[in-house]
Assembly symmetry: C2
Homo-oligomer: 300 residues x 2
């Protein structure tokens, strides 16, 4: 039984832009984010408080958060990697933060130079500091299906990391198919295993469309009762050196499919397209979303 309402968690301004080689000016990011909010998206990850040297594309996080529009019902969030990041987040006034780990040791090691256990220990420090600020915390679990170094990731390992994050007070977990390699059978196996212990309302899925399977995976997840999906406008975040290579599942592509299936999202496809165009102009390139390309070919 597929639910008739789905939440779309927009990660374009953070996960999308941090993976683009060009840095987009703060004013353009703000225009992008404001247009995304106008489309009806209620949860928008705006930036990341990682060290500016690590991700220079998001070095303007402090400044950006202070200028975010105040829109009733719209939640802006930021990634927080450590205590220093939390200090910056608290100073910025943001009320929704996210922490990041993965389900494969090699990936965590290469990405944040910690073991999974060390990353969880870091959250043990960060989360109690966040709570007094009234912050709500989301947890990302990357490589939830396939690791680029280790191959298939055991479902037991993914669930174990999810359970630990929930115990620490994370309100929702976003499980990522980081390299986009998962197929619907992986969703059934891994997400099915997780849902034996964790309610569907606590789980979001974060698909990449590298192999073209993202919407098939969404459909498999909908059948399991999942109702939150992460997407990025235009599918930004793909490798800009490989034309046509896809990044995050595109917001437009998900909205189209859900609209067609009679599943409500509250998101206006045309307005998301407008938001994506702001970024397409700033990056001066086409975006990977199928819908974006279709709408673009109709508008020219």
């Amino acid at each position: 039984m597929i639910e008739k309402r789905v939440n779309i968690f927009e990660v374009g301004p953070r996960d999308g832009l941090q993976n683009e080689s060009q840095t987009v000016p703060t004013s353009v990011k703000l225009q992008f984010i404001e247009t995304l909010a106008q489309s009806g998206l209620k949860q928008i990850e705006a930036t990341s408080f990682v060290h500016p040297k690590v991700i220079p594309q998001l070095a303007d996080a402090d400044e950006l958060v202070k200028q975010l529009p105040k829109i009733p019902g719209v939640q802006f969030s930021a990634l927080v990697p450590n205590e220093k990041g939390l200090e910056r987040a608290a100073a910025s006034g943001i009320k929704h933060i996210a922490v990041f780990t993965a389900a494969s040791e090699t990936f965590v090691q290469k990405n944040i130079r910690m073991t999974i256990a060390e990353s969880l220990a870091e959250f043990q420090k960060v989360i109690p500091l966040a709570k007094p600020h009234g912050m709500d915390i989301r947890g990302y679990v990357s490589t939830g299906f396939v690791c680029p170094y280790e191959g298939n990731v055991p479902k037991e390992k993914v669930r174990e990391v999810c359970e630990k994050l929930l115990e620490m007070g994370v309100s929702q977990i976003s499980i990522g198919d980081t390299i986009g390699a998962a197929a619907p059978s992986d969703v059934q196996t891994t997400v099915g295993h997780i849902l034996e212990k964790i309610p569907a309302s606590k789980i979001a899925l974060h698909f990449h469309d590298t192999y073209g399977t993202a919407l098939a995976n969404v459909y498999a997840a909908l059948q399991l009762g999942i109702t939150t999906f992460d997407t990025s406008a235009g599918g930004i975040g793909g490798c800009p050196y490989a034309p046509g290579a896809a990044g995050n599942l595109a917001t437009e592509d998900l909205v189209y499919m859900l609209d067609r299936m009679g599943i409500q999202t509250g998101v206006d496809l045309q307005k998301v397209f407008e938001a994506s165009n702001i970024i397409a102009r700033a990056l001066n390139r086409d975006l990977p979303s199928r819908q974006w390309n279709r709408l673009k070919s109709q508008s020219t």
Copy 2:
């Protein structure tokens, strides 16, 4: 219960190339087709015996069919629009032909200047002429879900056309999502309705990836017991004037997903990629397939 074996019906040389603005030389087409056969594809639609003025890209059909390689277990087919086309097909020696109609009146009218009933009457003449040649006949039903002129196509109308084709002696029907607008819910509704009267073994599905939903639709169809899907190598057949706009579901994209799901196809992904590269070089452009782009970025 999903079947563990799926047939892939390759339509790139016909449906792909007829929609490309450039005409590919016969020798290149033959190299393309031979490489496709080497990949393990057993059913390849090689060309069309439409009037050369209507589709100049396939004007070399007679010559091409005569030069097709003889490979045990590999079936080559050609589209036959009318009696004149059948004469040419018979003279060429091809043993598998396909006839073409649709489930929406306006689409058939604009495409072949007939009503659906008139197109079926034409098949009543063509099919008895084909049988003495030992020809096997496939039937295409376009706009099986959405018509670009009429919108949603009633499932009853699609089934009615399918039933008439089967009564005439067509061995398999390929139902097309011609503009790529269908979502998994459409597959459930329309294909579910058809399967109440027609066995799944008689039905193939022909998805386009214009809106990014093709693999999600395949997954929905697999769950209904469908085991034949039409694809084109590289996803050729998309509008070349809209970069990134997708045509037929790409053979590579389907093979990847089915491989990952443990569903056998007998098709080697890398070899299909090689075949697609022959066409990419001939057209001098990138192809829409996600897999093609991923493999290309890895190989450069």
